[in-house]
């Protein structure tokens, strides 16, 4: 079997793991337009912050490809899938034949049209090269303007805060991390970040850019020495769309991660997932989701039918020392507990836990995640203990013994 993977991030690595679990000898070729050994995209902010070195940005050990029998074509862009001849055409015209193809092309920064932006030097925050470019221009005392207060924008802000620069973050939404946090939690996060010197201008957007300043729609003028556009991402779907595959907001796959095209699979940020916590289809641009989809796809590509059926949105991370973990849907009955430094929201619908936000104290959050993924009926747990904190004690003895490995005889 001849497997070809376009992409070299989490979904690609998951695919390799899935294939190799079943097929130890088939040929695997990884194609990427980036020249690097597989690296972790979420680690670029830690690299820019200076917390990790070039060596530790890599997602797998240097001998990963060799150990897994993977050939690589790096620094060359795949420009076309020739489904008739079952090959991938590269930018230099070379055709790479496949029996099974994985599209793990991820996403690209979304830069909305903004007046004057085309004449302004700006950065995005998406790739190793993008943070290298930022690092090379960064100088102590600089004024940095970040457009976007989502996870990408705030991770960029966190990284830059370590370099003694003045940071202003602008977002059209009325709160920080609008996709992850509710209004209360976002307010706490914003206050935490403002206490550490970040400045936010929310509920407005840039009207016009000139070389070193932005005029916002609310009339405020923000001067900057460096501009970072971190508004969001868009899936890289062109290869599949051009080949006639079904693409909506992202590439559509079935539960085995197969696209509408024969022998072509897709995984990661370029695809649409089914979120079981809200029973809706959406793009879940999250590293764990990419890996899990890739792994399932890899097994199917190698001939073992496997399904991926329990995707949910989820996020973990801290911004300047304040941890957040959240998962699932926020549509349902809410249980909220709040202190000055912590926030907890549990969301219950149809007697099931469907979502949560933990901030400040995020210990053992995965117990909640597990309950959401399992779709556990809450009549099976002690509700007071569920609300108190994530703990195995909330399950009955029998279920706990099943989970933890049985009784000592």
């Amino acid at each position: 079997m001849n497997y070809v993977i376009i992409g070299n991030s989490a979904a690609a690595v998951g695919t390799i793991a899935g294939i190799r679990e079943i097929d130890s000898s088939g040929k695997i070729t990884v194609i990427s337009d980036e020249k690097y050994h597989t690296y972790s995209r979420p680690l670029i902010s830690y690299w820019l912050e200076g917390r990790i070195s070039d060596k530790n940005i890599y997602y797998r050990d240097p001998d990963f490809y060799e150990k897994n029998g993977v050939e690589t074509i790096l620094g060359k862009k795949a420009v076309k899938i020739d489904t008739a001849n079952k090959s991938v055409v590269l930018e230099d015209g070379l055709a790479v034949p496949y029996d099974k193809l994985m599209i793990a092309t991820g996403s690209k920064p979304f830069v909305p049209p903004m007046n004057g932006l085309d004449k302004t030097h700006y950065h995005t925050f998406m790739s190793y090269d993008s943070v290298k470019a930022i690092r090379s221009e960064l100088k102590s005392g600089m004024k940095v303007l970040i457009i976007g207060a989502g996870l990408i924008g705030l991770k960029a802000a966190e990284a830059l805060a370590a370099h003694n620069v003045q940071i202003t973050v602008v977002d059209m939404a009325d709160r920080v991390l609008p996709a992850v946090l509710d209004t209360r939690a976002a307010g706490k996060m914003q206050k935490h970040l403002e206490n550490q010197g970040l400045r936010f201008i929310l509920g407005t957007s840039a009207d016009e850019f000139t070389e070193h300043s932005a005029r916002l729609k609310n009339g405020v003028k923000v001067d900057f020495d460096m501009l970072i556009v971190a508004v969001g991402v868009r899936p890289n779907t062109e290869l599949v769309a051009d080949a006639g595959g079904t693409v909506e907001r992202g590439i559509i796959t079935d539960v085995t991660q197969k696209t509408s095209l024969d022998d072509i699979y897709a995984a990661g940020d370029c695809t649409v997932s089914h979120d079981i916590s809200s029973d809706s289809d959406k793009i879940l641009a999250l590293l764990p989701n990419a890996y899990l989809q890739g792994e399932v796809a890899g097994k199917n590509m190698a001939g073992r039918e496997t399904k991926y059926v329990n995707a949910i949105p989820m996020n973990a991370g801290g911004i300047l020392g304040l941890h957040i973990i959240s998962a699932g849907s926020y549509d349902g009955e809410e249980y909220v507990e709040e202190t000055e430094n912590t926030y907890k929201k549990l969301v219950i619908r149809d007697n099931k836990l469907v979502g949560y936000i933990l901030m400040g104290n995020v210990r053992r959050a995965g117990i909640y995640t597990g309950i959401i993924k399992e779709g556990l009926d809450l009549s099976e747990v002690d509700m007071d203990l569920l609300k108190e904190k994530p703990q195995m004690m909330m399950f009955g003895k029998k279920r706990r013994e099943e989970k933890l490995g049985g009784i000592v005889r």
């Binding site: 973990i325 998962a327 117990i367 195995m392 009784i407």
Partner: protein, 144 residues
């Protein structure tokens, strides 16, 4: 593969396993040095206490391996069946904490990383420290 199991009927809730675990993984030669060095070492086993029932929980080295698959840095991997974390690669993002359905991964706040049970594979005592230290033999290390 041998793993650590806890009999909740026998667990006294004394938390000694947490101290033995923290000390064994602190790098200090003994319990006193581990706790008197200025930094409080982090246990990788956690005792839950309830009304009339107590038990300790630690990494199940489970089949799902949600933490390994979720890890954004490649720090968590499987070595000879044991789920281990490379402390030098961990950035403490908590994606494994988000993912572990047993709540078995703990933050090591002081060092911006996580810690998890590795069955004391580096401690060369044959039997994990929590198992050795449990006064009521509620924690066992065995094949099931």
């Amino acid at each position: 593969m041998k793993k650590v199991y806890v009999n909740e009927d026998w667990c006294l809730g004394c938390h000694l396993c947490e101290f033995y675990c923290a000390a064994a993984n602190s790098g200090a030669p003994n319990m006193i040095k581990a706790f008197k060095s200025g930094k409080t070492p982090v246990p990788r086993i956690q005792v839950e206490e309830g009304s009339g029932v107590n038990f300790a929980v630690q990494c199940r080295h489970c089949d799902g391996k949600a933490c390994v698959k979720a890890c954004i840095s490649g720090a968590i991997s499987i070595v000879d069946g044991v789920v281990v974390c490379d402390e030098n690669r961990c950035v403490g993002c908590g994606t494994c904490v988000l993912s572990c359905p047993f709540g078995c991964i703990v933050f090591d706040e002081a060092n911006h990383r996580i810690q998890k049970c590795d069955l004391c594979v580096k401690n060369h005592d044959g039997e994990p420290a929590c198992v050795q230290g449990c006064p009521n033999r509620a924690i066992v290390f065995e094949e099931r």
